[in-house]
Amino acid sequence: MVAAFDEMNGFGGEVRAPYRALAEWLGVQHLDTLRQKSAEAEVLFRRSGITFAVYGAEEAGERLIPFDILPRIISAEEWRRLELGIEQRVRSLNAFLYDIYHRQEILKAGKIPEELITQNSAFLPEMIGVDPPRGVYSHIIGVDLVRTGENDFMVLEDNTRTPSGVSYMLENRETMMHLFPDLFSRNRVRPVENYPDALLKTLESVAPGNLDAEPTIALLTPGVYNSAYFEHSFLADQMGVELVESTDLVVIDGLLRMKTTEGLKRVDVLYRRVDDDFLDPLVFDPTSLLGVPGIFDVYRSGRVTIVNAPGAGIADDKAIYSYIPAIIEFYTGKSPILANVETYNCREPASLKYVLEHLPELVIKEVHGSGGYGMLVGPKSTKEQIEAFRAKLIANPTNYIAQPTLSLSTCPTLADSSVAPRHLDLRPFVLIGDQVRLMPGGLTRVALKKGSLVVNSSQGGGTKDTWVLQE
């Protein structure tokens, strides 16, 4: 495999412009000082409570997602292009969702095989004809980007359901500003700290119409044992809204209400961090204890806004992914600004044949998998692993997609013995309401193991602060 593009050094040679100040600074740092700062960062994270992200049965299995102190930097010019591409993409995804749950023009035009939608468990027929405020289905989207060269940013995945990780974006920045104030004086880094405020504005902007007062907003969490509970409580706290569990909510007289110390209070906008399946036991999974019976009826009647809308997951389904460029063209009339990663849908016989012939070169993913589980990274797998996967693939080809193994860009990272390049990706967070709000930054995930391409925290990945530079 060719050497990967390095965010700091490109393909070798001169330090790239956005990294000059950092490289200069890094040149005069002692490794011991960096290690000490890294240890300080860990203390700060433990104190802030972000360490309580993951819980075992005994409450003791609390884990800290490793944080790397060397930032990932994006120039103003690079960001401008990403911004345009992301906005185009998220508007198209919402247009697609509106269409899919209304006239289904895109199916009639034959741009997507109909059964890919109608047979898809992420497609909710109950949503047909429902009109969410401002026509927005997916209000909070995390767009996973990878980079392979100077101008080669690609979208690896869209997260249109309940993307997580934004609390890390915010805490990483807080920690960096605390540890390296001098670095911020040498670089003009755009702030991200107004995310909670932007989120609140977005949620308010999609409240049901005809409210007598300011909308009441609540954040619904599955509860304290959920792995993202820290983020749920963090965001509720930062926005100053109630963090509710399903038992705090009840539907009475056609309205969603929460049980407060002063009796029942109407909820107008529910930012839910539970999956569609669990939302309403009367409509979806009847065994769910995480949902609120009757909430879907309230939603259909337009008296509460659910964020993101039920059924929004059809837009980030891996089987739909390869059609996103066609989706963008269909709804905007323009070609996509950000490219997709080439993708083989194994449900198509020709693609399956190609994939089976090239398994050692490809990355194979389950259509409904996430978190880096259930995937095969061909070049990093043994013969036995590949053959075992081949059998699974042949048995159920519609369950898989395949992509070429990308040479993800690398960035200098504090490794055990030195500062060394490690592969990474980027998840910017976009808010869609009365306008599209994109935070200048995002969550950079980094594979801490040498040579590893898997950045998921469940697979040994860490995070970095992400700097977008001012013009």
Binding site: R47, S48, G49, F52, E59, A60, G223, V224, S233, A236, D237, E242, L243, V244, E245, T247, D248, M258, K259, T260, T261, E262, G263
Partner: protein
């Protein structure tokens, strides 16, 4: 505020207060057990300690005979005992974690580190020599949490429910101690006035951390009537029933102002406070100290229930 949040804050404060009270009770019980005695006197002592903590039934079911080491283990580490210090700290932290958004960082950190440090102790390493130190530590952790609460929390319903929980629990604790040990304070014992009685009186005051302040207030030897007065009616003593109800009526009045509505619980608290305000210790002794204390415990429980239903703790 969610009813569940109010409930969790209320109980969080109760657990922290309870851990402290249990530590104090164990300290006193242990001191008395160390006294030279004839026969099986220490059994009685542990029994009354367990009774004051409301744990006697649970203990007997689990261990049967009263043995110092078992009592200490049951009250410190046994998580099957809902009032053990281990249970109190774990429950306090669980409630705090569920209401992370309602707590300040200082409050959360004190809860979290108390629980982590206590969980790291291996029960087998706690000897009679290290016990006092450990009990001191429990009290200081409770003080740390209260300090963080008082210094950092907004004066709104979060604060008021925390105060209410603390003082309901404290009133209950002081009243239970009196309920179990009232007979040491009866006039008949003053007549006898043996060395052992003297020690018991001191122990009573110690169990509410008042053996020194008693002298400052009364400038006198320990006398049953004054001890009872100090623990029940005295306005200055921070663990007296009167003090607890001064704080309770204040917090409940603030809640009523905050929400713009009064409930039964405000009236109940004020009625009990007025009773303590107007009562005279001699009259109480005449009509029966034990009956008075039992009546108080009933009132205090009733108040807890009224608060729970007025503010929708669970519905």
């Amino acid at each position: 505020m969610l009813g569940r949040t109010a409930n969790d804050l209320y109980w969080l404060s109760r657990y922290i207060e309870r851990a402290e009270n249990i530590a104090r009770l164990l300290e006193v019980g242990y001191r008395i057990v160390l006294l030279p005695r004839e026969g099986e006197g220490f059994h009685e002592e542990w029994r009354s300690t367990l009774e004051s903590a409301g744990c006697v039934q649970g203990y007997v079911q689990r261990h049967g005979e009263l043995i110092s080491q078992n009592v200490i283990d049951y009250m410190l580490f046994d998580t099957s005992n809902p009032s053990s210090i281990a249970s109190c700290l774990a429950n306090a932290r669980r409630n705090g974690r569920a209401q992370r958004t309602a707590l300040t960082r200082e409050m959360w950190e004190s809860l979290n580190s108390s629980w982590l440090e206590f969980s790291a102790i291996r029960p087998a390493t706690v000897t009679s020599n290290s016990l006092p130190e450990l009990l001191d530590w429990v009290r200081s952790r409770s003080a740390l949490y209260r300090g963080a609460l008082l210094n950092t929390i907004l004066r709104n319903d979060t604060y008021y429910f925390s105060q209410v929980g603390t003082f309901i629990e404290r009133a209950d604790s002081t009243a239970r101690i009196l309920d179990v040990k009232y007979y040491h304070l009866l006039p008949s014992s003053e007549m006898v006035g043996s060395e052992k009685d003297n020690y018991q009186w001191a122990a009573l005051l110690r169990s509410v951390s008042a053996h020194r302040s008693y002298r400052w207030v009364f400038k006198d030897h320990y006398r049953p009537l004054k001890i009872a007065d100090f623990m029940i009616l005295n306005r200055q003593m921070p663990r007296s029933l009167r003090s607890c109800y001064d704080e309770l009526t204040l917090a409940l009045r603030d809640l009523a102002v905050f929400y713009g509505a009064r409930h039964d619980c405000q009236m109940t608290a004020e009625a009990t406070r007025d009773l303590l305000l107007e009562a005279d210790m001699r009259n109480i002794f005449q009509s029966g100290l034990h009956e008075f204390v039992q009546d108080f415990i009933g009132r205090n429980n009733k108040l807890g229930n009224e608060i729970s239903s007025a503010y929708h703790f669970s519905d």
